[in-house]
Symmetry: C2
Subunit: 199 residues, 2 copies
């Protein structure tokens, strides 16, 4: 029975998992438009028919790719934030996580921003996933800023998000993690500007 990712209740098959991880790597590294479904299925050693039976088409595979990326990102942040108790430290961990994630991998920038840049149709379902991802990051930072008792935590969170996104965009262009460090130190300055309501 053909099952569409995200709707079906049946757990992912191994073929489906392999398709997703392969698509994830190729879409990120080579670009979404530049990666064909034939390439994905071949590299995953899964027939193209299965790809279409499992995902329905390329568009759904793109959405699944971004959803997977979103999940991985949160898992990664959860991991590195594990020991830290104070909200300020956890706030800075978002910057550190971006920075760490940069080095090592052949860095191709933010998968969500790249998808936004590549997909012209604003109604494409994958773009809703990308928007949701950024929204959750901002909310996460706003929550931490609130817990740390900064004044206007939502405004602070938006500022920090702008710094982060700009830093990633510039880092990928310059092939340096410098922008991330600048963003981090600037974040501290902005946190200082927002002061702290002592309870």
């Amino acid at each position: 029975m053909d099952e569409v990712e995200g709707i079906g209740k049946r757990r992912r098959s191994k073929a489906q998992e392999r398709l997703l991880s392969t698509a994830s790597e190729l879409f990120y590294r080579e670009g979404i438009g530049a990666t064909g479904v034939d390439t994905v299925s071949e590299r995953a050693s899964v027939s193209k028919r299965t790809l279409y039976n499992r995902y329905g088409g390329k568009d759904a595979l793109i959405s699944a790719y971004l959803r997977d990326r979103d999940e991985q990102w949160w898992a990664y942040l959860r991991g590195v934030s594990e020991g830290i108790a104070d909200p300020e430290g956890r706030l800075m961990m978002v910057f550190d996580a971006y920075g760490e994630w940069l080095s090592g991998h052949d860095f191709r920038g933010c998968a969500f921003a790249n998808a936004q840049a590549e997909i012209a149709d604003p109604g494409h379902p994958a773009l809703a996933v990308a928007r949701g991802h950024k929204e959750r990051i901002e909310e996460h930072m706003a929550t931490l800023a609130r817990e740390a008792k900064y004044s206007k935590p939502e405004v602070l969170a938006e500022k920090l998000l702008l710094l982060l996104e700009g830093a990633v965009a510039m880092a990928v262009m310059r092939r340096t993690s410098g922008p991330l460090e600048t963003a981090r130190s600037t974040a501290l300055e902005l946190m200082d500007v927002h002061g702290r309501r002592v309870q």
Copy 2:
């Protein structure tokens, strides 16, 4: 005689101009990868052969597109900055220019960031154009910050660039100019942090 854009001394022909403006619009609105050379030549009412004789190929056309975009951006900034004498005002004009540019057009984000996201090959000549564009903007802001006697003008300029780039990226995702306004007000706060060396 076949002439390659950027090397030849002969001024652009009308056909070449039409090719460039058509490519510019399509590359920006639909994406570089999604726009074929056939489409460009048809929409420009110029034969495909002329496109190849003039530009040599699609890659060179992409580079020309970004160079053109860069020129247009500076012309626009020059225009809106015309009356302003003080460097601080001119610094804020960069933010205003980004914001103005946002509204009106069907906004698809920063053409240079989009090219960076779409083109996987880091050696592609168009990416050098994109890098140069951002570098010049940062230098421009650093010069203004220096003239306005802010301390560490280069550092301030980098911070402002990060805010700008992040704001554009978020604005295109959210379809709001809100991020640009946030970036603008945050820029003022950072300028305050950097104080002013009174001469």
